[in-house]
């Protein structure tokens, strides 16, 4: 018996004329992930990709785990492939279904006969297999309307495919199918979650981070690089832009009123990100802002920062609270790194009493006290870019 994996589409199954484009993208995303594990063969039909291990290394369990993190997948199902002989299937089914039926109270059989030359009809297959399951698992009952587990047998040209366990996929759209955007990655809990959410909507997510040595340390940067690397699990390869921000922060400190430090700083960050978006073809920026979480994320403050952007700014966490955000951060594996206690540039020179309701005209006036263009130009020119690749660990933390 050999085992393979069926990948069922998520919402791309609903697409019309474009569907093939999305399917191609999903398949190539999957291929890129599984290449790290072993050699697999791919076949597509009826909103399903069949993935078959082709060599020793191609481990089905490991592949299933990797697939759980690929956006665009609705469900993942492992299945056993038998010769087209119902007796062979019946003989092995007790063993193969053990894991899937463990703890289940009810089941049903669903049979599909793509190969019409097969001697039994679909209802006959259902009857025979149902009896075999009842024999092998006497404590379980049949429920054709609302079963705990659905056992499926598909008779196809090259074999009989038996499956039972369905694993929910990551959902969403294939990464890349919506274009690409630049995530403002700070090092806190929120921004990696924001990146994850937008990758789920099909965006390629690259990251931009601002450093202010000596006010911020090397360790704070390492931490953010680690987060970036952790995000590749879901997002695939990530380009990391590291912007030297010290001079700009010092210029804000020296020239602008203290209560506007944070909002001006955020506006300038947006301006720099906007520059890279236009230069490198990003269609939007992403931030981890959540309405009213801190002084710089009030409606008025967001209005002020937003005005600095020319491209759209996506804020997928805007309506979530910290508990919901933290839950996702834990799920995607960035939480532990996020809470390491290194200071990032956002808290450097943060005012004791920031304006919670800044007016845009006041902010613009405060900002105009200094001509930041030359410093922005310099920061852009001195920005370093590095690629973090999916499946490669290059950053190590204590």
């Amino acid at each position: 018996m050999k085992e393979l994996i069926m990948v069922k589409y998520g919402e791309i199954a609903l697409k019309g004329i474009n569907k093939k484009t999305f399917e191609d993208m999903l398949q190539s995303n999957i291929k890129r992930r599984l290449k790290k594990i072993g050699q697999f063969g791919y076949e597509r039909m009826q909103s399903t990709i069949y993935i078959e291990p082709l060599n020793e290394e191609a481990d089905v369990e490991a592949a299933t785990d990797a697939l759980k993190k690929v956006f665009g997948i609705g469900a993942i199902q492992k299945c056993a492939v038998y010769p087209k002989d119902i007796e062979v299937v019946k003989a092995d089914l007790g063993e193969y279904l053990k894991e899937a039926l463990e703890g289940a109270k009810t089941f049903k059989i669903e049979a599909k006969r793509a190969d019409k030359t097969f001697p039994l009809t679909s209802p006959e297959i259902q009857q025979t297999l149902g009896d075999a399951v009842l024999d092998a698992f006497p404590e379980i009952g049949v429920d054709v309307h609302n079963p705990d587990v659905t056992v499926r047998l598909e008779i196809r040209d090259n074999g009989a495919y038996l499956s039972a366990k369905r694993i929910t996929g990551a959902g969403g759209m294939p990464v890349g199918s919506s274009g690409k955007a630049l995530l403002m990655l700070s090092g806190g809990i929120d921004s990696p979650v924001a990146g994850y959410m937008m990758a789920k909507r099909g965006l390629v997510v690259d990251c931009i981070h601002y450093v202010s040595p000596p006010y911020t340390s090397d360790r704070a940067l390492t931490k953010v690089q680690k987060l970036c690397e952790e995000m590749t699990d879901f997002c695939g390869d990530i380009m990391f832009y590291c912007v030297p921000f010290t001079e700009i922060q010092e210029a804000i400190r020296d020239n602008c009123p203290e209560e506007y430090f944070t909002v001006i700083m955020r506006r300038l960050m947006i301006k720099i990100a906007d520059r890279f978006c236009k230069k490198d073809g990003y269609g939007a920026m992403i931030t981890g802002e959540s309405l009213a979480q801190v002084a710089s994320q009030t409606l008025s403050a967001i209005d002020c920062t937003n005005a600095a952007a020319e491209l759209p700014v996506f804020r997928p966490l805007i309506g979530m609270d910290k508990i919901e955000i933290t839950e996702i951060a834990r799920k995607i594996g960035t939480f532990e790194t996020s809470i390491l206690p290194y200071e990032d540039c956002c808290t450097v020179f943060s005012p004791k009493h920031p304006r919670t309701k800044p007016k845009l005209e006041d902010v613009l006036k405060a900002e105009s006290a200094f001509d930041f263009d030359a410093l922005i130009e310099k920061a852009v020119a001195e920005t370093t870019v590095k690629r973090y690749k999916y499946g490669e660990e290059t950053v190590f933390l204590e």
Partner: protein
Amino acid sequence: MIYLDNAATTKPCTECVKAVNAAMENAFGNASSLHGLGTSSIQIIARARKTLLTAVTGTKKPFDGEVLFTSGATESNNTALLGSAHRFRPHGKRIVSTAIEHPSVAKTLTRLEEDGVEIVRLAPKDHEDFVAALVNEVDENTALLSAMAVNNETGFAIDVPRLYREVKKKNPRTIVHIDAVQGFLKVPLDGDLISVSGHKIHSTKGIGALFIKKGAKVLPLLSGGGQQSGLRSGTEPVELIAGFEAAVSAYRFDKERFAELKALLLQMLAEMEDIGINSTEDCVPNIVNFSVRGVRSEIMLHSLEEDGIYVSSGSACSKGKSSDVLPAFGVSEKDVDCAVRVSFSAENCAEDIEKLCDKIAKTIERIRR
């Protein structure tokens, strides 16, 4: 690179590196093996013991007792204190110590305190004559006194031989433990139990020692193959021991030279505004702690780092946490936040101090607004 963080760790000296390599190449045998390779390892270990016993006192007289190789000072301190726990029973026993101990002593004492031992912790800021104050606390019930020879954050040094003498005079049954990590090979030492570390004197990390005076019985923390007279089970790391010995033999504490560097540093700091000096006159000359008011330690540290100058904000062992120890020297909370520790090695010169002070001045100019 200008490395001024020698109290955190030191660069292994050439002699040490050579000895480690030679031992790995030629004496990789297990000291417990009966064949010739094992014997070569025993030779190295035995010779190292002798070198250490001779060097530790800082006088012509070698230490009268034995020496145990450990994984470092943390293990030495734990062995000294927990291995003496049999002395704290029955209840009512006390330990006299200080408020400026390294966490490997301080936290171990807290553990003993939780088990019901009375711990007295004196702070230098409260006493004119600190040694006398410590001796004064020793009474009938004092089973142990544990004090640091040289403080790792300020360099504050006590007269250890005097302390030992006077404690023994007052209560001969009181065991005296000296954490001599920063004092080893720098100040004269004496005690019933003395902890030292290799990597502070240009040897490798992972090796330290505990000196045990004749008659001062310590119980082992580890059970196992019974190596080192049963006091410290575990195969002896011959190469690290060889390196340790080489580093000890090569070490020279040039007191006058360090005093000159310290004087130069203090003089240059005095020319800047609003600097607090946290290392007083009773400190060793190789450690200087000061506070640059208005510039947080970490920012100063990273700013100096930009020019390849490495110093420390307080103690590297507490990973950036602000110091619990400086307040015991009377340093204010505000000054603790901007404390910087500079610690010299023989490789430092006056030019290093000039560059350091130049960058400190520039950092102040940039940050203090």
